[in-house]
């Protein structure tokens, strides 16, 4: 063991002893060493003092407030997130109903559901209590439509999930939570009955009065394409406390995500982004990279391209038949490439000159 401070401080065991991270064995050993001589004790005390007082304490923000800020941000995501949790709880309820007296359990079920919605919707709990939500999920290659009595339709694309009210609600705000892709045709209400329709995504929300638009949340951000009418995109970033807003016009596409400090807007051909709902696929100067993403998403397959330059190639046209092999054949002919599908993977390869 050393007899100078600089040597002692190089000893990890000694530092652990000072920082109270040492093992019992080490504590015993250093305590004994300390008691050996007055000099050892003085060295230890100096070292202790140095490590306790040798550093400036910086003024810190209130950690409670910081925690609150974090929880707010998590909550704003949570409100939309726990699709799966709700489903699980529902299942539990069904099971319980079978297990015991129905009358009492109906009440229990009702209460459970109320609390559930309260948790998820926070301030809107009293209203939300009267709305029954259902979870709709689609598998790869599947598509489904939700019809409402006022003529509004929501077409969900494959690989998506959405929490929607079971029926048109009487409250003035109707909300859905979407993960995936869906096309909304929302019937405009008579002027005196202003109802807002809001699509929540992880990244923000899209609110509408009556219109046709598509929302897609795959690819790490949310994408809204407006065909008709007008919608407003709202992004509340709890981190930067920024509140971004953009009113879209027809043929606008908006991209937004949490953490991005702006809503990107560009002019597009909306057909390209909404045609899937009507069983056709429209391409308008669409790069293969986009089409590949769409194919992967819609059909649940992986697409591998052997030359990344191919991904930049643009395609224009319309597929009326959405059968995957039909589309692949079309791509092969247009781009003059070889396409092969083995199990769940599609290989797009440049033709070799042989």
């Amino acid at each position: 063991m050393s007899d100078t401070l600089s040597e002692l401080l190089k000893d990890d065991s000694f530092v652990r002893f000072l920082k109270r991270n040492a093992s019992e064995e080490e504590i015993k050993q250093w305590t004994a060493w300390m008691q050996e001589s007055a000099k050892n004790e003085q060295l230890t005390n100096r070292a202790k003092l140095l490590l306790n007082k040798g550093i400036q304490t910086v003024p810190k923000p209130d950690s409670d407030l910081e925690l609150e800020r974090l929880m707010e941000r998590i909550d704003s995501e949570h409100r939309y997130k726990p699709l799966q949790e709700i489903k699980r709880k529902h299942n539990k309820m069904v099971w319980a109903t079978m297990a015991a007296a129905a009358g009492i359990l109906l009440l229990v079920g009702f209460l459970a559901r109320n609390t559930l919605l309260e948790q998820n919707d926070g301030t809107e709990s009293s209203r939300a209590a009267s709305i029954n939500y259902q979870l709709i999920e689609t598998t790869p290659g599947q598509k489904t439509t939700v019809h409402y009595s006022d003529g509004s339709d929501i077409v969900m694309n494959a690989n998506s999930q959405m929490r929607v009210p079971e029926r048109i609600t009487t409250v003035d705000t109707m909300r859905v939570w979407l993960e995936g892709e869906a096309l909304f045709s929302i019937t405009r209400k008579p002027k005196d009955e202003s109802r807002t329709f809001i699509v929540h995504t992880l990244d923000g929300e899209v609110s509408v009065l009556g219109t046709e638009f598509s929302v897609n949340t795959t690819g790490g951000h949310s994408r809204v394409v407006l065909k008709e009418g007008s919608v407003r995109v709202n992004v509340q970033d709890s981190l930067s406390n920024k509140n971004l807003q953009y009113d879209l016009e027809p043929n606008h596409m908006a991209l937004f995500s949490q953490g991005l400090d702006k809503i990107e807007v560009e002019q597009v051909n909306p057909e390209v982004y909404t045609s899937w709902a009507s069983d056709s696929l429209v391409l308008d100067n669409t790069p293969l990279s986009d089409l590949v993403k769409r194919i992967e998403f819609t059909y649940g397959v992986k697409v591998r391209v052997n030359n990344s330059a191919l991904l930049d190639k643009k395609l224009t046209g319309r597929f009326k038949n959405l059968n995957l092999s039909f589309i692949l054949e079309g791509i092969a002919k247009t781009l003059d490439v070889d396409i092969e599908k083995r199990e769940q993977t599609v290989y797009i390869n440049e033709k070799t000159d042989l």
Partner: protein, 190 residues
């Protein structure tokens, strides 16, 4: 609720991590409360900008929650938090540097250990006129040496954790510590 809180107080960071990955928000709260002060103190020494450090800490814990289903259990949760914060800050720092011709005072130093010279005087019985020499000696250390000194002696992190945070081998940590202490020897062993 309060009984619950007590239960979480007795868990070590690794146990909290396990709970967090299972979607336990109380575990996230406990990790936040237990680590906020030391993370802030560390972050402030990397970039002395309160808002930047606050936001980065938010980002670290937000991501922890967001990606909880895809996270591996780290060897040391504490080291993991330090690394995450460090990355966030260095990235932000780079952006700021690029964006504006920044204030030299805030961003020129890579790591400002912010020693208390009075504390050193008191502990080591230094004469008043040595204070300036000590300042100079600290300023002459490399940023890495300063960072290691800070994390090792004042945050009490182990050599292994340090190697993880700074992404260098344990032996290099020993060397950094050794060289730094050699430079400060005249104050330590007077």
């Amino acid at each position: 609720m309060s009984a619950n809180k007590f239960e979480y107080d007795n868990l070590n960071p690794e146990e909290l991590w396990v709970k967090l990955c299972k979607g336990d928000i109380e575990a996230l709260t406990a990790l936040f409360n237990n680590n906020f002060d030391s993370l802030y103190s560390y972050g402030y020494r990397i970039v002395s900008n309160t808002d930047l450090v606050r936001d980065s800490i938010q980002e670290v814990f937000y991501n922890l929650w967001k990606y909880r289903n895809n996270l591996n259990q780290p060897d040391s949760v504490e080291a993991y938090l330090f690394i995450s914060l460090r990355r966030q800050l260095l990235r932000k720092k780079k952006n700021i540097k690029r964006r504006e011709d920044m204030d030299k005072k805030y961003f020129s130093e890579e790591f400002d250990v912010l020693l208390s010279y009075q504390g050193w005087q008191e502990a080591l019985d230094l004469e008043e006129e040595k204070k300036e020499d000590l300042k100079e000696a600290i300023a002459n250390l490399t940023p890495r040496q300063r960072e290691v000194i800070y994390l090792k002696y004042f945050e009490g992190l182990s050599t292994r954790e340090l190697a993880e945070i700074l992404q260098i081998r344990a032996q290099s940590i020993y060397n950094l510590v050794h060289d730094a202490l050699e430079n400060l020897r005249i104050f330590l062993d007077k």
